[in-house]
Symmetry: C2
Subunit: 355 residues, 2 copies
């Protein structure tokens, strides 16, 4: 190692789901929306004015935060926008978790939390989910440096009752509680309304999933004015202009088209519920997912084998080689047609395996 | 202060130049390009495919880093892309400056450097420029935790000789040396070629100025494969997908249009040189700027007074209320027409002041 390397921060990065360039694959591995974004988005992008390209964008991304605020009936001063919810969450970890006590989050959850904690040298402790992959609220009563809960949780898809989450927040008024609602639009109960009541509650959402805008990188945090001010101070100490002109336009347009949003998320929820039944018929154990993915294991076949067989057949799902979940697959809810192809393949493959 | 606020990171943010919404102003305060970006950029954005919006973008932004690499005749493995050079620099501070020894940069330079150092709790020491606002290379010979030099420097516009910069790097092989070339295309000598020779040299550039893409937020770092790998590991520990689909398209298109680039930067350089002479005729002392801005003080009138008078007249320039430079103005080079309006106003205002 060269001497200059001694003081380099060595990070073990998060591994994102692959984005293969192969054509004709069925891509059910990164929880993208199978439907395109609202037609208003493309219209907004096509209306790009060169004047807005040569100038720095609005550092407050006001058109974007205002659209989110309006949709949720809150003041824009209580909204923060970032380059996807990953940016919002990374900034939040940096801003709010500066205690010597450990930050708490489940052992099975979004796998970026421990990566951020390591990156920023934040002490943390993972709290095991129970045997049914549920969060036990009492486990979050002790002293800690902050709490992060994904609701619905990933990759299980399981949602928590609002009363249980409220209980956790009630018992943790002295730290910041982050609720990551990346998948909330597919069936969970949002805590956004509670941010008026709890000054220390930060709710994080994204346009990547339910608004089909993963390619534009837009995430939000909603919280008290104080929380948002602290977050903005750190953001303005990092990069004044994180949201580019296209993201501001596209995001505002997507948020404003409520009808299209209701229609597409309704379709995804319907496909998910039908898919749960189909998967059960095929011998899978299926969690009660309230997200746009299924989390499943087969009663007989190994997840790893199914994963490889699907891949061979051009159907890509997500497999996590991690303790407790290494016999599970996370399968994004695609279109009905894509799911039918999946079921047909699985039926035939499982039959062959059994023979 | 509520108890949860105790462990919040309190940051004193950078103050960006204002982006007023007033129409008909002449905006010479944030070093934006007065010309629009290459027509290829708008074409690329208008060709946006919804399929790329609903999917996560390529985490490597390969089309973008490859365009930058091709332009500069280096391997894409030696290029990192970020959300403007601010993102690239912030990530670089986080990655490379983890020593107990202070990082060194000039007392008068881009005012984000100390903000990042404070944010990430990096020890630093500012090194005074000489009385002519020049960097004294010998001041960077001592033990340190890293070096950051903007070349040309901001807000002075003064460029350093390549041999002097090389000397600094030669004497600092044990730390990472960052050269911030935000304004390099307007007349400085780039060190990009030296990155093949010095494993610890990181050169940072941006498309915000010379490519007129401030609104899209695109910056680059070029360095050894090792440096770029370390930087990518931290980036992937922060946010896997920082560059959205529009930025990747727009940036690649801008980089590919060399002819337009040469034409517009040539015009800006010509206007700058003419403007220096005009300002001198008006009684200003003008630095030898190699950037797209002038850094000036008047022999008699106070900078603050000129700043306010210009503002009243709808001409916005940048004034820094900081030691050593509080009698200077930083004036972005606009179109010839905008500059003529500026000179005419100054001539008449200075005449009135004298009377």
């Amino acid at each position: 190692m060269a001497s200059w390397e001694e003081n380099v921060r060595k990070a073990v990065p998060y591994t994102p789901g692959e984005q293969p360039k192969i054509a004709n694959i069925i891509k059910l591995n990164t929880n993208e929306n199978p439907y395109p974004p609202s037609p208003a988005v493309l219209k907004a992008l096509r209306g790009t004015d060169v004047e807005y390209l040569r100038r720095y964008p609005d550092p407050k991304s006001f058109d974007l935060t205002e659209a989110f605020a309006r949709l949720n009936g809150i003041s824009p001063d209580r909204v923060f926008a970032g380059v996807g919810s990953d940016d919002v969450l990374a900034m939040s970890f940096l801003t709010f978790f500066n205690s010597d006590r450990p930050v708490l989050f489940p052992d099975i959850t979004y796998s970026f939390y421990d990566v951020w904690a390591d990156l920023f040298r934040i002490p943390y402790r993972t709290v095991p989910l129970d045997e049914n992959f549920r969060i036990v609220k009492e486990d979050y009563y002790g002293e800690n440096g902050g709490i992060v809960i994904a609701n619905p949780n990933a990759p299980t898809g399981i949602a928590m009752k609002q009363s249980d989450l409220r209980d956790i927040i009630d018992r943790n008024r002295d730290v910041v509680v982050i609720v990551d609602e990346a998948y909330i639009d597919f069936g969970g109960e949002s805590l956004l309304g509670l941010t008026a009541e709890y000054e220390n509650l930060l709710v994080v959402q994204t346009l990547s999933k339910s608004r089909a805008l993963a390619g534009m990188r837009i995430g939000f945090a909603a919280g008290s004015e104080k929380l948002i001010r602290y977050l903005n101070d750190v953001k303005y100490s990092f990069n004044s202009y994180t949201m580019n002109d296209s993201a501001i336009r596209a995001g505002a347009a997507a948020l404003d088209d409520r009808e299209y949003f209701e229609y597409t998320r309704g379709r995804i929820i319907a496909t998910r519920e039908r898919s749960k039944k189909e998967m059960e018929k095929l011998g899978f154990i299926v969690t009660d997912s309230r997200s746009n993915f299924l989390f499943v294991r087969h009663k007989e076949a190994a997840a790893r084998d199914i994963f490889h067989a699907l891949r061979q057949a051009g159907i890509i799902v997500r497999y996590f080689d991690k303790p407790r979940i290494d016999n599970y697959l996370r399968i994004t809810v695609g279109t009905d047609e894509q799911m039918d192809t999946l079921f047909a393949f699985l039926a035939s493959w499982l039959k062959k395996e059994k023979a």
